[in-house]
């Protein structure tokens, strides 16, 4: 049976179609799903498209920012309100990929992909999920990622997070073998709000250091309440690898990822651009 395509005018319709048919797959930007179609990994079932404008709604007024799951990386880059997410959005593919790649799709991109999600994790984003025609349910991104495989027949409708303290408070870096575009050796997002010159509420996230994006809670504890000086950075480097389970893949070995993680973390915390 060849692959069918259905376009839904509302997110509720799309959610209902996904939950009612285990062979249905959501098609957002297509950068992951069309690859599967092209390479013969999807040969039957239905691709579900969402034409609902709310799926791509960007709400930046107020203290909480909400982005529709269909928001593309290009849309993020076009918004000055989201300038703190520009380094992460720019790290996704090249310009043509960014025209299509969506925030929602990036949540499902398997390591070593999924770098935008790393930035969202450092912002402690919430994910709104809709199953069927019922209302949306909001889950912390960390929990969503842990249960990601079980949630594939649900529709992610939006991602939301508190506006960061300042644009500079969110740092992001991506280490790859090919510049400026390349698949991650690893990526790091660090949200470092300061209070009285000391770190207050650090949130650190890694990409490509585990099957999904993860928080680096050991590093967060090492930074909390301290000034961001050489001693603090060294303390953070010492615990950089806690909780990580990097894979060996075509880009890098587990060993290499573990070796370079504290180097990139240290540079980022010291504000060194490479």
């Amino acid at each position: 049976m060849p692959v069918d395509v259905r376009t839904c005018q509302t997110m509720a319709e799309a959610a209902s179609m996904l939950s009612g048919d285990r062979t249905a797959t959501l098609l957002a930007g297509g950068t992951l799903v069309m690859r599967d179609v092209n390479e013969g990994r999807i040969t039957d079932g239905t691709l579900v498209r969402v034409a609902d404008p709310a799926f791509r709604l960007v709400s930046t007024g107020g203290g909480r920012i909400e982005l529709g799951a269909g928001t593309t990386m290009a849309m993020v880059l076009a918004s000055q309100e989201l300038v703190f997410l520009h380094p992460a959005a720019r790290a996704i593919g090249g310009p043509a990929v960014r025209s299509a790649a969506t925030i929602g799709g990036n949540l499902f991109a398997e390591a070593p992909y999924g770098d935008f999600t790393v930035a969202l994790l450092a912002l402690e984003a919430q994910v709104t999920v809709q199953a069927g025609y019922g209302g949306g349910r909001t889950t912390p991104l960390e929990e969503f990622l842990a249960a990601r495989e079980r949630g594939r027949q649900q529709l992610v409708t939006a991602v939301s997070f508190a506006r960061p303290q300042s644009a500079g408070a969110l740092r992001f870096c991506k280490a790859s073998r090919v510049r400026p575009k390349g698949i991650s050796v690893l990526s790091i997002a660090a949200y470092l709000p300061m209070s009285g010159g000391r770190v207050a509420g650090a949130r650190i996230a890694y990409g490509a250091m585990a099957p999904t994006a993860i928080r680096a809670k050991g590093v967060e504890r090492a930074l909390e309440g301290r000034m961001l000086d050489a001693a603090t950075i060294e303390a953070a480097r010492q615990v950089a690898g806690e909780g990580t389970r990097p894979a060996t893949d075509a880009i890098a070995s587990e060993w290499y990822r573990r070796e370079v993680l504290p180097v990139h973390l240290g540079r980022m915390l010291a504000g060194e651009e490479r």
Binding site: V3, M34, N38, G94, A96, V97, A100
Partner: protein
């Protein structure tokens, strides 16, 4: 499974095709509509040789559903020249030896076109960012970067 009709503007002309529901735009352009300028390289979104413009924005045709292009304006390299007059980017590529085997060239020209439409006077770094999604095995990229910078220096670059 029944084919679906799709209609869009291709390089300024109204075109129509019958496509499979999950057919990608690259297939439709090449096999359905006879536009062989965009190439098939990887089918994964990595190489960029299938780069085309949809409503002025760069997209990868191999990852785009054909039926999602209903009513849109699609532009490929086939529409860049004006009869015998080359687009300034095409002339600059020629003058700067920016093509060897030529396989990446349609994607590079399209990416460059999208870049210059948004940013008519890019820096070298911005040119590199603009073609970051396009791989070239032959030139080492420097002639391509030089060609795009040269075309940007030309006053005529906003023609199309």
């Amino acid at each position: 499974m029944a084919k679906l009709p799709v209609q869009f503007r291709l390089n300024g002309s109204d075109r129509a095709a019958f496509v499979d529901p999950a057919e990608n735009l690259l297939n439709t352009l090449r096999r359905g509509l006879g536009d062989f300028a965009p190439k098939y390289g990887c089918g994964q979104g990595t190489c960029g040789v299938c780069t085309i413009l949809i409503d002025g924005e760069p997209h990868l045709a191999c990852l785009t559903l054909a039926i999602a292009c209903e009513g849109r304006a699609i532009e490929t390299v086939s529409g860049m020249a004006d009869g015998a007059d080359l687009h300034p980017l095409q002339a600059a590529f020629m003058e700067n030896f920016a093509a060897q085997c030529g396989f990446c060239t349609p994607g590079m020209l399209t990416a460059a076109r999208a870049l210059l439409a948004k940013n008519p006077t890019p820096t070298r770094e911005e040119v590199i960012e603009g073609i970051a999604g396009n791989i070239c095995r032959c030139t080492g990229y420097e002639p391509i970067i030089a060609a795009i910078l040269a075309a940007a220096g030309s006053r005529d670059v906003r023609r199309a």
